[in-house]
Amino acid sequence: MTRVVLPYHLRTLAGVTGELTVEGQTVLAVLDGLEASHPALRGTLRDPVSGKRRPFVRFYACSEDLSHTSYDDPLPAAVLRGDEPLLVIGAMAGG
């Protein structure tokens, strides 16, 4: 299971507190798992038609920005071991 930390607004929308755990060893699988377990998140992280990440959403793990990598790549080993979470970030924007 992969640990996931959502930003405040999405935790509220999904009705969760703290970390989530979902099945998935890639970013894409984690997104699929999040949307399956919490349908309210559909369309909030990625465009429902194109599947593209929303511009102000970022995926970080182990001090790395995974936002621009292939979402089919395996997540970092520390995330797969459960030592580190995958961080979903609402990017700083607006000044």
Partner: protein, 371 residues
């Protein structure tokens, strides 16, 4: 309890304001969806405890929420607003073709009779319909694919379908307004549409009398006279008495005929309300005085309504969906401002009191009259 329930959408969440029929003491609940922009909320006339809310933001896109208990609790419903087929292009602000792209829901319009049916006007301009309470949405693409669609250009707020008026007895007839394309009507439930802009004159476009391209800000209708519509255009207040066949100007003696909001008294179909705004450059109350203007003659002659409203140093705006009227015997008028005030007049505009003063900027106000 006879009373009213106001549904207020703001830049930072939604609020539900309730009162009895005296409309003097108010209970304020919220913010719901704190931190999100709530462009609009509206309740079902067929089941007033069923309310939909458009929740959106630049980070996480569009969410539609539904309450089945009068706004006390909410649950997300469907938010897939996919255009039908190849969406094609409209004009961008610089005149170049731009692919149609969904941004947000501006306006939700529940069916007058079916609590499962609700319409959504969206940006980029298109009309969607749900027949399962908002769980799923399908585009009524005849509007967007009307022949003039590729010529439509956004207004400053975006290419938005912001107004939907449902005919009170003919379910096949719907009016829609789009900034900056104009007004449209369907007589077959949304399958096909015609532009209804004859008589509009817009100095901001090359052909002042063009079939489309007018920046219509808002339409209003009294249900007893569904062929008569009132329009606050970018500039000019207009009316039609033949369901949009032709329009004539009724700005009359208004101090400025720029504005956004317009509405009609619940029991007097010739009594109309507008809030004049200085200009399209300034977007603030005219002369620093917040005045609602009322015409009891269907336009042309207007009287300022000022009692209880700030008459100096007031530089707020009143946006297009931010005015509403209740249906109590003594009609109440409500509007919200970009300064976060929501005002109530329980006497049809003669006097006003703020219900709340310090909400986030108000985007929309709707009112439900409760039995």
């Amino acid at each position: 309890m006879v009373g009213v329930r106001l549904l207020v959408g703001t830049r930072k969440g939604a609020f539900v304001l309730t009162s009895d029929e005296r409309r003097r003491d108010w209970q304020v609940e919220g913010p719901h969806f704190a931190g999100w922009e709530v462009y609009h909320l509206k309740g079902s006339p067929a089941d007033p405890d069923r309310i939909w809310a458009s929740q959106s933001g630049g980070w996480f896109g569009q969410v539609v929420q539904r309450s089945v208990d009068g706004g006390r609790s909410w649950a997300p419903v469907g938010n897939d607003f996919s255009y039908e087929g190849d969406a094609g292009t409209h004009q961008d602000l610089d005149g170049t073709p731009k692919p149609w792209a969904f941004t947000r829901v501006w306006h939700l319009e529940p069916s007058l009779t079916d609590p499962e049916t609700v319409y959504a006007g969206v940006e980029d301009a298109a009309l969607f319909k749900s027949t399962d309470g908002g769980t799923s949405w399908g585009e009524l693409s005849g509007l967007r694919t009307h022949g003039s669609g590729p010529e439509w250009q956004p207004g400053a707020g975006g290419l938005c379908l912001h107004t939907l008026l449902l005919h009170p007895t003919d379910e096949q007839r719907i009016f829609a307004a789009i900034s900056a394309a104009g007004a449209f009507r369907t007589d077959d439930g949304g399958g096909s549409w015609i532009p209804i802009n004859k008589g509009l004159l817009s100095g901001e476009i090359p052909q002042q009398e063009a079939e489309v391209g007018h920046c219509v800000h808002k339409l209003a209708m009294h249900p007893s006279r569904p062929d008569t519509l009132f329009m606050q255009k970018h500039w000019d207040v207009m009316r039609t008495d033949d369901a949009g066949g032709s329009w004539r100007e009724i700005s009359g003696d208004l101090p400025t005929d720029f504005g956004f909001a317009i509405d009609v008294h619940a029991h007097e179909p010739e009594t109309v309300y507008v809030v004049p705004i200085t200009s399209d450059y300034l977007h603030v109350a005219h002369e620093g005085r917040l005045r609602v203007y009322r015409s009891r003659s269907g336009g042309g002659e207007w009287e300022p309504l000022t009692k209880g409203l700030p008459q100096e140093h007031c530089y707020v705006n009143v946006l297009r969906d931010a005015m509403a009227v209740d249906r109590l015997d003594q009609c109440g008028i409500y509007f919200g401002t970009t300064g976060g005030q929501v005002y109530c007049s329980p006497d049809a505009g003669d006097s006003w009191e703020p219900i709340v003063r310090d909400l986030p900027a108000v985007l929309s106000v709707e009112v439900q009259t409760l039995p």
